[in-house]
């Protein structure tokens, strides 16, 4: 009798724990949107120019910085991570080198992003003399994102059935031809999903960027060697310096806009995954 009663109480507690966990999501998203979505969706705000001292500034250059940064970062890290994943999944035979590379990737992915920020400051901003700019931030983030991109690419490469490879190789195709024309195309959905997810991470990243891209700008950056201010970094800067009188409004709006962008990117990633899975199921 007693055991069933304990079981019922435990079940109740697990329901509560599960509900609290999703509740946290709803409270955070609800609170941020309730505060800022109204401001964020005003064209004068998301298409406006930031103010350094006066009120009424917008965040357009920051949004552009975030997107620009995501593109640059992926341009650097996507080929590298894909190459590394192809090497690990298709070429290496699971020896010492593979294990070592995987250990490095695991270590890299467990480093705090502030450490990447320090590294980026030391090497790109100061040592190479690029200063605070998009390209310094992009290289820093490329390294930060490399392990996750690599892992997701490797997993989707490995999910391609062995028979595909065997069929291609038995037709006389070389290994590289097999990889390029058979394995990579069939693992594309997974690779695309992983890439889109990493766009979300890049947009949300701030600690690795405060010392590498810059924190405040008024003009839209065109040249990658120009100082920039990704939205996430600028939100932190605006609330911490509180130079404009309406900084609370700006941060509320900026945070809501950032959250919206990140959530949309995540939903897109999920949709892509689903879309391809459905198509695969039909064919």
């Amino acid at each position: 009798m007693k055991a069933t009663r304990v079981d019922r109480i435990a079940t109740f507690f697990f329901w509560i724990l599960g509900m609290i966990s999703v509740g946290i999501l709803f409270i955070i998203v609800g609170e941020i949107f309730a505060r800022g979505l109204f401001i964020a969706l005003k064209p004068s705000f998301f298409l406006g120019k930031p103010e350094a001292m006066k009120e009424g500034g917008g965040i357009l250059p920051m949004i552009v910085s975030s997107i620009y940064l995501a593109v640059l970062t992926l341009l650097i890290s996507l080929p590298l991570s894909l190459g590394a994943a192809i090497y690990l999944a298709e070429y290496s035979r699971g020896g010492k080198i593979t294990r070592f590379i995987r250990f490095c990737a695991d270590s890299l992915s467990s480093l705090p992003s502030i450490v990447f920020g320090l590294f980026g400051l030391a090497i790109f901003v100061v040592r190479l003399g690029w200063g605070y700019c998009l390209i310094s931030g992009a290289f820093t983030l490329a390294l930060l994102n490399l392990p996750t991109l690599m892992r997701s690419a490797e997993e989707s490469l490995k999910s391609v059935p062995k028979t595909y490879r065997e069929a291609s190789l038995s037709l006389g195709a070389s290994r590289w031809t097999t990889v390029r024309q058979v394995v990579v195309p069939s693992s594309l959905p997974g690779i695309i999903t992983g890439t889109v997810l990493s766009i979300g991470r890049i947009m949300g990243e701030s600690a690795a960027l405060i010392f590498t891209t810059g924190t405040f700008i008024r003009k839209i950056p065109l040249n990658p060697f120009q100082t920039a201010a990704p939205l996430a970094v600028n939100i932190w800067y605006t609330q911490s310096e509180a130079l404009v009188p309406d900084y609370r409004n700006i941060v509320n709006g900026g945070a809501a806009f950032l959250l919206l962008m990140v959530l949309v990117v995540n939903l897109v990633a999920r949709y892509i995954g689903k879309f391809y899975r459905r198509r695969k199921g039909l064919s």
Binding site: A3, T4, V6, A10, W15, L17, G18, I20, S21, V22, I24, L25, F26, I28, V29, E31, I32, S81, G83, I86, Y87, Y91, S92, F100, I101, F103, C104, D106, S107, L108, S110, L111, P112, S113, I114, V115, F116, L118, F119, L121, A122, I123, L146, R175, W176, M203, S206, A207, F211, A232, I235, W236, Q239, S240, A255, L258, L259, V262, L263, N266
Partner: protein, 309 residues
């Protein structure tokens, strides 16, 4: 055509063709290896640069200065300041522990709930929801903490509200998805016979979870908690926004203090010379802590393989 030039030329052409393919294959393999080695080179460079930049702090300030409890940088004459990082080491450990106390029960509990208790549809929905928490940018969580949690704590405890409690709550939210996802993974990896055997012997669901499933998945859950710990130790922005950023060594939950990562964020802008080096030294400590955690995880998962054999 071929018959004119003879069979030997045909063989030669074929061999040349094969050789060129083999050569191309080799080039590509080398290129891919270079891509893979970027992880190693990157890790090495991070170590070298963070270490090199923090070296002046160790040589010019000395360990007694760096490991004192007194943080009082001198912006205009960096060499004259005090750079004791002990308050922030304590703050880091304290907030990490707090974050785990909040996030680990929630994360592990939710994983068990999703895997064992929830109806499949609700379980998937909750799993997706928790995944989405991981995608919320840390500045957004920090701003949420600053505008909602800090005033709330302040009202309840009659203090400023900034401090370790606020930081722990924020960190709890941030480690929750990591711990939940990895615990869930290790629970799902358990063979279903385990559960069936327990039920077959008349165990209740709670007894099955507590006495069979959790012990069987304990290494995976431990790894999940360690990885969550890594996230909590290194989180900079969200913590910096709610911890108050004062310099004191404190053990009170509602006193302002700082962590290593938060201190770097707060002070980097105005630092130069050995002041900057002292901040890099804090980064070096974070780097070493992260590597120690990774090695611990390796150790934990290696033991697992041995017991299976």
């Amino acid at each position: 055509m071929l018959s004119i030039s003879g069979p030997s030329l045909f063989i030669k052409q074929a061999m040349d063709y094969l050789r060129s393919i083999r050569k191309r294959e080799l080039h590509i393999k080398v290129l891919l290896m270079i891509c893979a080695s970027v992880t190693f080179v990157g890790l090495l460079l991070i170590f070298i640069f963070v270490f090199r930049e923090s070296l002046p702090a160790f040589t010019r300030l000395g360990l007694p200065n760096l490991f004192s409890t007194h943080w009082n940088p001198d912006v205009s004459h960096p060499e004259a300041g005090n750079y004791g990082m002990l308050p922030f080491v304590v703050g880091t450990l304290y907030t990490t522990l707090g974050g785990l106390l909040v996030g680990a029960p929630l994360g592990i509990g939710s994983a068990i709930f999703i895997d064992q208790i929830a109806p499949p549809k609700i379980g998937t929905a909750i799993g997706r929801g928790i995944e989405l928490i991981a995608s919320i940018p840390s500045v957004v969580i920090g701003w949420f903490g600053l505008t909602l949690l800090v005033p709330m704590i302040g009202r309840l405890t009659d203090t400023s509200g900034f401090g370790i409690l606020a930081a722990s709550l924020v960190l709890g939210v941030m480690v929750l998805p990591t711990i939940a996802a990895l615990s869930l993974e290790s629970l799902r990896a358990l063979p279903s016979e385990l559960k069936e055997a327990a039920y077959g012997m008349g165990a209740t669901r709670w007894q099955t979870i507590y006495k069979v499933l959790l012990p069987a998945a304990r290494r995976g859950v431990l790894v999940a908690v360690i990885l969550g710990m890594g996230r909590a130790i290194g989180e900079a922005m969200a913590v910096q926004m709610v911890i108050g950023n004062s310099r004191q060594l404190t053990f009170s939950l509602t006193n302002g203090t700082s962590t290593l990562a938060a201190r770097i964020v707060t002070d980097m802008g105005e630092s130069s010379g050995v002041f900057r080096s002292a901040l890099f030294a804090q980064g070096l400590i974070l780097l070493i802590l992260a590597m120690l955690l990774i090695l611990t995880i390796r150790l934990v998962s290696r033991e697992k393989k041995e017991t299976v054999r």
